[in-house]
Symmetry: D2
Subunit: 344 residues, 4 copies
């Protein structure tokens, strides 16, 4: 199968190339980049030399549709939708890594991102979280790859909300992210010296990933879930640690909560549950497609604590995108994704 | 005034020396270290060369009592109490940076740290948070310097609890700390490669600083405060960012919460309030004695978010210790502490 | 004395403000910034709140000449010279932190930076390395503050070249710099993720600081010095470590080399010599105006190794600029610069 | 083939497990660790969960000889030799990652490391740098895996010394290493706060890897090579960048030097030559078995600059060890080692 990647010179684009280069069933055949068009991708990223030396071209839907069967779009939101619509019209299957097809309600999309140009595709698009929508993904032609923050949070909360073990109100997500989540465009805020040896919160209670989480968690709960989402920027390259707090509904011990997670995810290849009252670190998933989950109930406060750790560029973006492709195309779901985390 | 520092070769010891070397009213006259006894402190820390070149001695209460009028003890908990008791007996004034005199109830101390050898001093010891106990500190001879986590959290919550604007139950503290908080003793967990390029939670809902916070916050609230405290380790040297979540009691807007903080802390020299709905970073307090506070009310969830940023070695330890000394001795409170943060 | 800072919103501008805010003989009265004009500098850098809250204005030579007696220009090379010329014409004294007045030969300037608009000022400008040009600086009205790399390297090599103890040919400077040396303008190369957890050489044998070093070292040697300069970028905020290698001319032991440094710099307030065959670290000078030097002769290879450590923003830029101002104005040379390094 | 790893709970041990777990021709069957004996290796390193869950045992030569056919020893020098001797006696093939079998001359070994207990094995042991000793490795039963610093340096200098294009005297190696090279034993010097946000040289001209480099480079040159080796510690987890300086012997342009490298390494699977006068970074080899090389001749000084970048834990240790195993056992040389570097 021939693969096209639109927006290959960003971090998620690079990560797609890294993963797909080792995938036995596909061949990367078309890459685009506006900034580096004309160069080989291995000139932009020397780590790829000898693996993928394809030239980067300016985006032409016509060309990419001719050169590739299956396309990953890794463009900024707003820019992506037009390209995706054209590719779908040409009969291509697409995994879109932008935010453009994640929200079902065009009004919600508009409030957070601006006017949507092809709202009719929002209903068709499948939210690409395999642990929840595996069956729908299987037949899909357009998969909206989840945001990095939503991936960890939804995976952490789904077992509890599905079983009505926590209350749908008062959920709090305190997330800490490495800097690669901000992308590869030069900006003052992401300069080394603005981030290094420091900690800060940003977009407190106003981050665009909140409506995405609320949409999916409400589906899980069968009820309107509201959450308070507070992201923080941490001086590391990769990794998101989401510390999530919820009020227990009824009785729930740490052990029982743990069992609930074990049962829910027992056959999931990329979910790793920590022993009761122990928690995952981002180090142990770095460079891998795993989501680590740890759970504990604090019985004095009746608060449940669940912590999720992912590599934001793998399970939080490109690894999950390949997982989606595997499911869409009938390949083994873990194909190309068996890499062990890089520690230290 | 002659100053002794017991345990001068750890990070808080070094930081005391750094600050006191520039203090116009004192002279450092006695330093102890078990590990580096016999060396000049400037051989252990070349940054001090030319400023403080005093020799480190093994601890002898007799000797330090002879050489110094005012003593800072920067020893591990458990070890500190015996030394402090002896110094107090010899008529010295002491600021103790360990946990040994922070808790009022000897049973609580015992549960978290082990048996206390001089519980009669617990009542006399003053909890050294000047923004709360300034008057008591003034006449004190034994000040228990607050823990690094409690400092930021208590300063962040006091204005709200004192005015009963948040509920005493359900408070959540998600704190992120640099590694210097763990001290300077070699340990696997604090090796560069165990921490670098990673994120983790630790001592979840079980950290020893929780009872200290609860004690002081309960005093503020005039009610039993319980909180859920979840610390995280972050790959930076200095800084604690505490993101604190509480349920608003009654009505409270961001603006009103902000006003409340402004009023409460208006004459405090080391508290810096951010404009409404903006938040401090650890970078902007690095190396300084400031505590930055930012507040926001999320009206959809009725959650109040307050974020505190301190340098754990300054306002969270040695800077605050000097602030306490200044108050105890009638020096201007900011003396020796006027340093602007080092950015970047 | 009233101080103006042109280009106050970059890292060297901020560092000037930080240092000068604590200087007892001056008052900051005028600040410019193109990007942040209209904001208070403490809105751009909250660390300054309560210390310096002056408004940033767009650059107007007229205005700054009216508001200030003594001016620091912290603009990019090429932009600086015109402003400096105007200020000098208006009778102001200036320390220029750009490269515009460091090179004596306008042709050399042109080869590396482009056409010079006021070459007649190159001869008047004094190269602001106090350890070498103290007397000249005293009477000067225009001081060209040295580059960050040249500062450490010239201080490291001067004692040996002045005494003809190393050969003027074959000197090699392998320098490692933190990222703040690259300034605060957004660029792909200085994004956190491009630098973090990595090491690279750049501008190998082609860096613009090489001619500046060669000019000054040739003056020291009384002979044409050529050196090979290889800078590296390291994921830290502050600090330059320059490892310098030279061929011993005649006989020289480590002890004798050490004595030579001790003698040359014995009354220098900001030079710190390590014991023989031991070396400084950047950590021990971080945030301070010190230059640490360590020397060793490898007798098997007859190579002399000297390592210099500075904080590139202090002794490598703004601290040295203030040191120059102190000398120019007859203030005590260390005034405002007595700060101990921040460790860790 | 059944694999034993002695010393599996250090960083090189972990890295061996990570790589071998994905190797199609081997099965890890025996692991030892003194500190963590009794635990599963995946309890020590959760990143391995589901991949390798084998229990760690205390070292017993008898047991490991029974359980494994091929053994990697990753013990401290001095400890390793006895174990290796026993394993060889039992007919096992061994790749030893310690320094114990790298030096041919027992006197040199003794000077740097202490008395050798089985010097007769030094002659048999093959220095495991496949780019040089591939044929010898093929038939070997004991391979001494090169040190991390020597690997990059020897690969960088071999083409020039073999062709007599640089002089054997006056070679200078300024190396910068991440902290994982120091191993996983708790020590003050490698604590996060002792290394973070800092730079330092260490073991200047006295590092134990110098005699190893000199031995191998002398073989390459057919002449006694002396070099000056100056290592530096950098706050990153992984990576060594070695900047190497040598005097050109005769005439040599950058282009010709580049051609020489291309020719020498044209069929090497793990050597990557940068375009002339451009240089590799550690980022582009992180987590991979590549050695990046870049070369330039500075014609003004007749100095040749060659820079080598490796991941110290992969090509500098465990990856190279697996490469050696592949050659020893007749497996394809790149088997299990095809991983692309993790960027960023």
């Amino acid at each position: 199968m021939k693969i096209g990647i639109v927006g290959a010179s960003g971090y998620t684009g690079l990560e797609l190339v890294r993963i797909l280069a080792g995938h036995p069933k596909v061949e990367i055949s078309s890459l685009t980049s506006e900034r580096f068009a004309g160069l080989a991708i291995s000139e932009v990223f020397p780590s790829l030399k000898g693996f993928v030396d394809l030239r980067l071209n300016e985006l032409s839907v016509h060309r990419i549709a001719r050169e590739a069967d299956f396309i990953f779009t890794a463009l900024p939101h707003g820019t992506s939708m037009g390209v995706v619509e054209e590719l779908i019209k040409r009969g291509k299957r697409v995994v879109d890594l932008s935010a453009d097809f994640r929200l079902k309600d065009p009004d919600v999309y508009e409030r957070w991102y601006g006017k949507h140009s092809c709202p009719y595709l929002l209903q068709e698009a499948i939210y690409g979280l395999p642990e929840i929508y595996r069956e729908e993904i299987r037949g899909g032609r357009l998969v909206a790859n989840p945001g990095c923050y939503p991936t960890g949070t939804i995976l952490a909360l789904a077992p509890l909300l599905e079983e009505r073990r926590i209350s749908a109100a008062g959920i709090l997500v305190d997330a800490k992210s490495g800097v690669s989540g901000a992308g590869r465009n030069p900006s003052l805020a992401n300069l080394f010296c603005e981030v290094g040896e420091g900690l800060k919160a940003y977009s407190v209670a106003r981050h665009r990933h909140a409506p995405e989480m609320e949409q999916e968690l409400s589906f899980r709960a069968g009820d309107r879930v509201k959450l308070l989402f507070v992201p923080h920027l941490i001086p590391i390259n990769r990794g998101i640690l989401s510390s999530i707090y919820a009020r227990v509904d009824g009785e729930l011990s740490t052990e029982k909560a743990y069992d609930l997670y074990r049962r829910r995810y027992q056959s999931e290849p990329f979910i790793r549950i920590c022993p009761p009252a122990t928690f995952p670190t981002t180090g142990e998933v770095r460079g891998s497609n795993y989501c680590g989950l740890g759970v504990m109930v604090d019985e004095t406060s009746d608060q449940l604590i669940v912590i999720a750790a992912i590599d934001n560029l793998v399970k939080g973006a490109s690894g999950q995108a390949v997982q989606n492709m595997n499911i869409m195309c009938g390949f083994p779901e873990t194909m190309g994704l068996e890499q062990i985390a890089l520690v230290p």
